[in-house]
Symmetry: C2
Subunit: 430 residues, 2 copies
């Protein structure tokens, strides 16, 4: 049974605040270990990568090589069954088409004073893409992280993926090839992040590192931040389903479980105005759990972090939605368009009864890398914007300098910065 | 004397790489101190703020109040001389006009399959703006940080500024009022960052914290990152001037010194194709230093981190520019437009001989908060985009679900996620 809250109860406000504050992850302090690994990779380069990979992944890189060869990628493509390969290509085409619309355009204009102002967007030259090994090695995530980089025009998209005991999901290599990844190395953990940030003889450094990973990878990304850019640190996934009683309880239960099966720390929340429907969904969750291959994970997530919130009406629910700031928000109600303008904080919104969140995980076209842990209050999902940067340009002639100069000089003097004032004054006719 | 490098010398490549790797800041490990302060503010709220402010700023907040009142702000406005106030308003109007062009627009379209896809941009609800006290308390920085928030539509712009011994620059309050700051508190350091992130009885929490600060502030921002968003961690400022021999050596020397006077860790670099001009600029720097109020700071910066690089021509200089990825780049050459397309990595470009970087510090209209320490390779200056976030929307009907569903199911199954597959399949007619 998930947590049950009722908006009408006197203790609701405190209970809801407690739900918001719920910690779903045990934070591991691995900073010292990670820092030692990074220093070692900086000092010894490839030799350190070989040592750590032997130790942590039980793999001899001197035998296999650090890089995954074009032949290995070819061979992997051959191992993927036709239907899955087609689905990957279909997803890639849709993701690419959508992200192409995100490319920002340069802007340059001359203002009434004659000052030229502009923004130039350029792609980051080289980006590292961390792909986890094992259970969380998802080809869909390779597409979601690599395609916006490809669209942005990043020249080097460098993937690292750990291969514990030499094992590697051929689908991950297939996705990488479809998404235009330029180099792939069979390394993981903090050592892979260090190699991407500082480079080794084999791996040239990148300017930014993206992609999910475990506590060691997250700590390593934080530590190299500054030397390189990083994306957000992803937490466990969550869904918030807003549903009225006219839905199929089975559909909504399936959506809640789709989130729950990701991770025991995932969170699925249902907000409904219908107590009977809430009961029906809870029953459907229990029933569907019985036939789920990842029942243990999904069951734990639902039991520990799942919640059902009963509200008198959906308009009063929207402030709760905004405080939760969910990664994924489904609006499965008769008139979702009436609620849409009231949503302020959410990573992605799935509108109507026929838009399960899972479509967005794979083939909707939008990105599935979205802000978790309430960070949709201040951040956005992954997009082409994460792979470009803006340079501002400013252009004055003599006339414009005469017009703007006196104010600049006044402010420089007020700030006690004489050389600032001089740099303007020396160019003026006075 | 600054460092002198010549592109034609055999040792140039190594010397240039060493210049790139030069560390200009002593990194202080203040993490434990900061973490204790944050915990204390979380636990004791206002009482902790009062204690730390008494200790670090020698100020009794129980006497003054934590908040700065409207009357105090009025009084500060009265203390600012007319010319400076007019200059602040002039700067504000120009910065505002430029940033209004940065507001992203929502996008919604229906693709050929009938799937609705879109991006909705909304402002962050509440933002904290850290303003340093003492020497680095610049009203121009208040404008640069607050105006994009104002343009974005942020409802609460909350400023914190330490007032050591009760002292506060009235210009900072004037700038805050002009830029629409909604609340101001006389606190600083890690305790102010903690108050903004977690809230106290007096201060409601914000969703993102921006603005420069010392090592304690920077460490605190890193530690609260995740609970709130943060902007980039600013390092000491730098300028790269690309100038031919047709410039006035005095103008270019003034530009180099304007950067150098900020901070002993600031860096000013000149790239020129004219050895005689290089000598003239060095002489002009020495001469101008004699009449500069901040000569000690500027002289130390120039001596320790300044550099003059002689190149055979400017086209060969552009790869050096891109590796340096300067915060500020001046192109003081006959035909800057020929070089512009070759610049990939720079925070801001100042085009032509009549656009000293200082204009951009105050009244150009573009933002002066720019990526330092080579981070222009992967990041951008502050803009309206830093105060908004994007929510993606996806909308399918039954037909679209039938079209996209099979690929989603195939990928979910390939990833071993049964509940994902079910959430789609259960909605399909099969």
């Amino acid at each position: 049974m998930a947590l049950r809250l009722n908006f009408a109860d006197s203790g609701f406000s405190d209970a809801f605040t407690a739900l918001l504050a719920m910690k779903r992850e045990v934070s591991q302090d691995v900073n010292d270990v990670v820092s030692a690994i990074i220093d070692d990779v900086r000092a010894r380069g490839d030799a350190a990568l070989i040592d750590y990979t032997r130790k942590f992944d039980r793999l001899d890189l001197q035998e296999t090589g650090i890089a995954i060869s074009a032949e290995e990628i070819e061979a992997a493509m051959g191992k993927v069954d036709g239907e899955t390969l087609e689905a990957l290509k279909f997803a890639h085409a849709r993701i690419r088409a959508h992200h192409e619309k995100q490319m920002p355009t340069d802007d340059y204009y001359v203002d009434p004073v004659g000052v030229g102002l502009g923004s130039r967007w350029t792609a980051i030259e080289a980006v590292g893409l961390y792909v986890p090994g094992g259970l969380a090695s998802y080809p869909s995530s390779v597409l979601m992280n690599a395609v916006p980089a490809q669209v942005a025009g990043v020249e080097r998209i460098v993937m690292v993926v750990p291969c514990p005991d030499g094992e590697l999901n051929p689908l991950v290599l297939a996705a990488a090839r479809i998404a235009g990844v330029s180099e792939i190395y069979r390394i993981g953990g903090a050592q892979a992040v260090a190699a991407l940030a500082y480079g080794t003889d084999t791996i040239a450094p990148v300017a930014k590192i993206v992609g999910p990973g475990n506590a060691y990878v997250a700590a390593a990304k934080k530590q190299v931040f500054g030397t390189v850019g990083i994306d957000m640190i992803a937490g466990p996934s969550e869904v918030l389903v807003v549903a009225d009683g006219n839905n199929s309880a089975d559909w909504i239960a399936a959506d809640l479980l789709a989130q729950a099966e990701h991770d025991e720390a995932a969170q699925s929340i249902l907000i409904t105005d219908d107590a009977g429907f809430a009961d029906a969904v809870e029953a459907a969750v229990e029933s569907q759990l019985k036939t789920l291959s990842r029942a243990e994970i999904a069951g734990a997530s639902w039991r520990d972090f799942g919640a059902v919130i009963l509200v008198p009406d959906f308009v009063s629910a929207m402030p709760l939605v905004n405080r939760l700031a969910p990664e994924h928000l489904e609006l499965a109600v008769d008139d979702p368009d009436a609620l849409l303008p009231l949503v302020r904080n959410a990573g992605a919104i799935f509108i109507g009864r026929h838009t399960p969140e899972v479509i967005g995980d794979y083939v909707g076209g939008s990105n599935h890398v979205l802000p978790t842990a309430r960070s949709a209050r201040f951040s956005s999902g992954l997009s082409v914007l994460d792979y470009v940067k803006r340079t501002s340009v400013l252009r004055l002639g003599t006339e414009q300098l005469e017009a703007l100069g006196p104010s600049a000089i006044a402010l420089a003097k007020a700030e006690g910065l004489d050389a600032h004032a001089r740099s303007v004054a020396i160019r003026m006719n006075r």
